[in-house]
Amino acid sequence: MDKIIGINEVVQHFKDGMTVLYGGFMGVGTPAGLVKCLLDSGACKLTLVGNDTAFPDTGVGPLIVKKRVGKLVTSHIGTNPETGRQMIAGELEVELVPQGSLAERVRCGGAGLGGVLTPTGVGTIVEEGKTKLCFDGKEYLVERPIRGDIALIKARKADRSGNLVYERAARNFNPLMALAADLVVVEADELVDVGELDPECIVTPGVVVHKIVVTGGL
């Protein structure tokens, strides 16, 4: 059950039309090596789910620029002009989701929950097509779960069993995405032996991680 693989072994897991969850916020915390590998795989018509599309040359930006994405579920596209251009030209389907609702939807996907009730978006166009419930005079939108076929995760350190810790604000969506996909692939800066990470400080438990690529020295 060795989870450690070479970067070349990742490519076989990418397929046209798959739903890809990715960590990162403005590219910080997005696994650059795995994104490059996905790009090199030639897979297209992807559905991407993540906080933003970073900049044209960082994070998942290049996947947008090279037109590998058919649908995007995200909270912010303002820093990558190509995303907005493709959206307005009708080349790319974009679902904009409030950032907190996106986090909860992915969390639900990983948690076996059927959704959450949030006040965010009530009275705005985010309501459209969503079930609305009212309790104690307050309205909520039902935000439904999101899951992916694969999650691309960037970690600071992984142990050999897949336990992960992150690096400062590069944590962001990574721990959520790591719970919500059928295949969880991690790019780690550093690999350590099982037992080296403090059990109180591990953020993502190894039991949810399937494959680890180490970019730093082994």
Binding site: M26, V28, I77, G84, P98, Q99, A103, R168, A169, N172
Partner: protein
Amino acid sequence: MSAKPMDPKHIIAARVARELHDGDVVNLGIGLPTLVPNHLPPDIRITLQSENGFLGLAPLEGDPVPGLVNAGGQPCGMQAGGVFFDSAMSFVLIRGGHVDVTVLGALQVDQQGNLANWMVPGKMVPGMGGAMDLVTGARHVIVAMEHCTKDGGAKILKQCNLPLTAKSRVNKIVTELAVFRIDPGHGGLVLEELQAGISLDQVRRCTEAEFRISPDCQL
């Protein structure tokens, strides 16, 4: 840390700073709001929340530190006692009322406290990012913006016509001309204060919304 007194942005930021209390947890939007901490008196210490996942945002000092960036993706620093967490926890704090104040810009704001700041249909659609959650969840919502558009058009309206960020959630509007509060429930904008050297007339000319004048407002 230098405040240029004549720059509208700094006038606004300085006035917003006076709305903050010692111990407040504050989330600042991109741009103008980030100037606010420069204007805090030394006895007012606030904790900045950064929606990408931490508390204790501070200005960058020295070289960038890996992974330490603000919500604009730019290198920053961190106060002692800061804490990192994931995006779900970040918005638990934001939506759950653990952020005392959010300060953000606006394309439009209206006399019902509605805010529009995330898209101009067919033109500019950056997405809402964390703004909808911030405006929905923060205990106190301050809009900090220049009073008019670049073309001199009104931004403080009877009713927003751009897609809303959130409904009836704005508590205060601070511009280089004036300070308004919005009475929750009562609907209705109240002029609380004119900025130094600004006349009521000037404010009326630049404001489409109807507003009452607070008895405490010095005209």
